[in-house]
């Protein structure tokens, strides 16, 4: 399987890190590893995402949001010639209480891509505790094929 070029990696990081004031920026995600086999992303601890007043227990919803975002990244990396991509459905299991102030690590990949659909799976754990997954999810995405690459569309959007 072809490795991703250094140039595309840099462009991915650039787009990812400059996405306006949206949620991905707020989550302060840091890409740790990208290849055609999958992506790994780190989310620093953020007290805004907790449910308890002590701010040590993450809300499940932020883990779901994290999976959705990282699935999008995994598809973006591994599928060529896509002009648009939307989440069709998402399923998440919360495997244990997400109680920690450690950074959160997500690993996700696209395990099947067709002309119209991409299928994803991913896992989440606290940094240093890969043996104790806190959530696991799967999703499917609807892809729109077109001449305009998703990457190019977003790059243009940024430039204008």
């Amino acid at each position: 399987m072809a490795e991703i070029t250094k140039q595309k990696m840099e462009q991915i990081a650039q787009i990812w890190n400059a996405r306006g004031d949206g949620l991905i920026t707020h989550m302060a995600l840091d890409i740790e590893d990208v290849s055609n086999e999958g992506v790994q992303v780190r989310m620093p601890f953020n007290p805004d995402f907790c449910v308890d007043s002590d701010q040590t227990l993450l809300h499940g919803g932020i883990l779901t949001a994290l999976l959705d975002s990282v699935f999008g990244l995994a598809n973006f990396v591994s599928i060529e010639g896509v002009s648009a991509m939307v989440t069709l459905d998402l399923r998440v299991d919360y495997l244990r209480a997400a109680r920690s102030r450690s950074d959160v690590i997500v690993r996700a990949h696209c395990f099947r891509k067709t002309r119209h659909i991409a299928f994803n799976a991913g896992s989440i754990w606290f940094d240093g505790h890969e043996d104790a997954e806190i959530a696991r999810g799967t999703a499917s995405f609807a892809l729109t094929r077109g001449d305009a690459d998703l990457f190019e569309v977003m790059t243009e959007g940024k430039a204008s």
Binding site: L23, F49, G60, D68, R91
Partner: protein
Amino acid sequence: MDLQTVNANVSRVPFFRFLNFEVQSLDSLHAEAEMTFETRLIGNPVMVLYHGGIIASFMEATAAIAVHPEFAEVPAKPINLTVDYLRPATKGPLFARANVTRKGKRIASVSVISWQTTREKPVAEGLYHFLLV
């Protein structure tokens, strides 16, 4: 349980404050809430759409309140969820209605729909399970 007390509970949860929503109606099997649009909730900055994970989070929050509105410290414990995304959610308020399909001794099943202009055109629907023990 009156709405004022429930919304006071909601405002004590940091992530619920982040989402910024208000419970608008409540009975023993239902909860309905409205979320205000904020830039930090955007998933697609080019088209200005809500993040799918935020929609799922808002529906989960509404479902947890329907299951256990009088939570003291933390909301009801979620087990898992399935969400179908039906339409894009654009800039503007977002609504959710949670319906407790079954509440047993240990587990509750909740179905939730989310919409913007009319509930006949939902943006997403979801099924959520909660652990009650």
